[in-house]
């Protein structure tokens, strides 16, 4: 069935790229890209790092904790930025959420 629409990203979300949005390293141009329907997005380094953590298992809260520890940065600011970036991607239709899991 079709992926859910209207995702509202929060710290509890467990986002994942849908099949039609592919994160790929472009060998020719030596940059990371997101391939999407008739579009190519150029995420910056930090966006790439966030997207590599989007495996449908990790929550946004876990990602923010990990990034805050790594960059010794203030957690609140990172959370705001990460949620905004993921929401932007979701609004474009290139981010989905893992279904409810029973565990």
């Amino acid at each position: 069935m079709a992926s859910p629409r209207h995702i509202s990203v929060s710290e509890a979300s467990r986002p994942v790229l849908p099949r039609h949005a592919k994160l790929k390293f472009d060998e020719t141009r030596q940059v990371w890209v997101i391939l999407a329907p008739e579009r190519v997005l150029a995420p910056d380094e930090i966006a790439v790092e966030v997207l590599q953590l989007c495996d449908g298992l990790r929550s946004v809260a876990d990602m923010v904790d990990q990034l805050a520890a790594k960059y010794a940065a203030e957690r609140g600011a990172i959370a705001t930025d990460v949620v905004a970036m993921l929401q932007d991607l979701a609004d474009k239709g290139f981010l989905t959420e893992a279904r409810e899991r029973t565990s």
Binding site: R19, D26, P37, E38, V40, P43, G93
Partner: protein, 402 residues
């Protein structure tokens, strides 16, 4: 450290400049790298006969088409030189029996594939096979929101009902769907219903594309040209829908350049960020480029690589950059914004592809040409010339709408 996503959009109609986002150096007009996306016109054969078809009036015959092995070699070469996406188009690409094999090959060499289709030849099984082969996106053309107008424009009875069915299968298979609606005087009144149709079909994206007038569409300009009032209303409707449907349906809007003040940045600049491959294997700066007589286009069947043809062939270099420009382009402050507009349109309307695109108000022939278009829009001549291999067939007298 806020993470950002720069839009390196590959759609020629988009204002964001894909190439500039990834490669920045020197003059914008002189910048060209390997395109992010390439259009593969697998065949000019098509069951539909749309009077605005973007294919050239002189269509490639089935016998001249590249073979399966030739297309596979082309796809491998494209991936090798750094192309990221392939649009399988036509004519009707599903008329090729080897489409699943070609999509699979594109996946194998790492290309992201889009299918641009009229959908009428697809079965659910074939669509599922394409999805399994790695197809990532389906774009279906619609000619209206209901069969009477839509089937008349397509020149194919039953087309609309089949398109609706295929669009539903597309979403059932979890493939993203773009609805492509080509708009003109005969169907613009349906736009609100077409937008609703796209929502009901659970499409991700809607392209509201006003007809661009060369090739078949130029032959049919009198029957297709909208009035200025229609265009103003269309722009309002699209803006309202874009705001209302944000996050549900993305809407891309292509304005008809006849009613713009400045010409379109055609193809993002000649030979700058895009090429397409014709059914017979010619490498072209745009799908209409063969309409310009006097330019020789190299083929993938020649002794040159695709990379060499893109970088070095005379046809690509002819209108690259700004050096070829005459006045008023030469000293114009917009020369690196619109690159002088569309070469094919300049050729079709002035006889010289090196002239300023007459869509620009600064062109000396702008007034004369666009007055004529306005008169045509008001004249109520509604009979089509349908697209086919015979050079076109006029619509039967009793068929055309009021």
């Amino acid at each position: 450290m806020s993470p950002t996503l720069t839009d390196a959009n590959v759609a020629a109609s988009d204002p964001a400049d894909g190439l500039a986002a990834l490669q920045r150096r020197g003059s914008t007009a002189e910048t060209f790298g390997i395109p992010l996306a390439v259009l593969a016109e697998l065949t000019h054969r098509c069951p539909l006969q749309c009077p605005y078809c973007s294919n050239p009036v002189e269509l490639d015959r089935g016998g001249s088409e590249l073979t399966t092995e030739e297309w596979k070699k082309v796809l491998s070469e494209l991936a090798e030189i750094g192309v990221l996406q392939i649009h399988f188009s036509g004519g009707e690409p599903t008329a090729r029996k080897d489409l699943v094999e070609l999509v699979q090959h594109a996946s194998d060499v790492g290309l992201y594939s889009n299918l641009i289709t009229s959908a009428v030849l697809l079965s659910r099984e074939r669509l599922a096979a394409l999805a399994n082969a790695g197809l990532s996106h389906v774009q279906i053309s619609f000619q209206g929101n209901e069969p009477v107008v839509a089937d008349r424009v397509a020149g194919f009875k039953g087309a609309h009902v089949r398109k609706i069915e295929v669009a539903k299968w597309t979403r059932e298979l979890d493939l993203p769907l773009t609805v492509n609606a080509v708009m003109h005087r005969q169907n613009l009144f349906q736009l609100p219903d077409i937008i609703q149709m796209a929502v009901d079909l659970d499409a991700d994206r809607l392209e509201v594309a006003n007809v661009q007038y060369y090739g078949w569409a130029l032959k049919n300009r009198a029957a297709l040209m909208p009035t200025l009032e229609q265009i103003e209303q269309t722009s309002r409707l699209v803006e309202e829908a874009q705001a209302r449907l944000k996050g549900t349906l993305a809407i891309d809007y292509v304005v008809p350049d006849y009613y713009a003040l400045r010409p379109k940045k055609c193809m993002g600049g000649w030979g700058r960020q895009f090429f397409n491959i014709s059914p017979a294997g010619k490498i072209l700066p745009c799908h209409a480029a063969e309409s310009i007589t006097g330019l020789e286009f190299e083929s993938v069947r020649s002794n040159h690589s695709i990379g060499w043809i893109w970088q070095n062939s005379e046809a690509f270099n002819r209108y690259r950059g700004t050096g070829w420009m005459p006045e008023p382009c030469k000293s114009c402050e917009f020369r690196e914004v619109d690159f002088g507009g569309c070469r094919c349109q300049a050729f079709a309307l002035t006889g010289d592809a090196g002239n300023t695109d007459p869509a620009c108000t600064l062109s000396p022939v702008h007034e004369q040409i666009f007055k004529l278009a306005e008169q045509e829009a008001a004249a109520d001549h509604n009979r089509f010339i349908y697209r086919n291999f015979a050079g076109g067939t006029p619509e039967a007298e009793d068929d055309h709408g009021a």
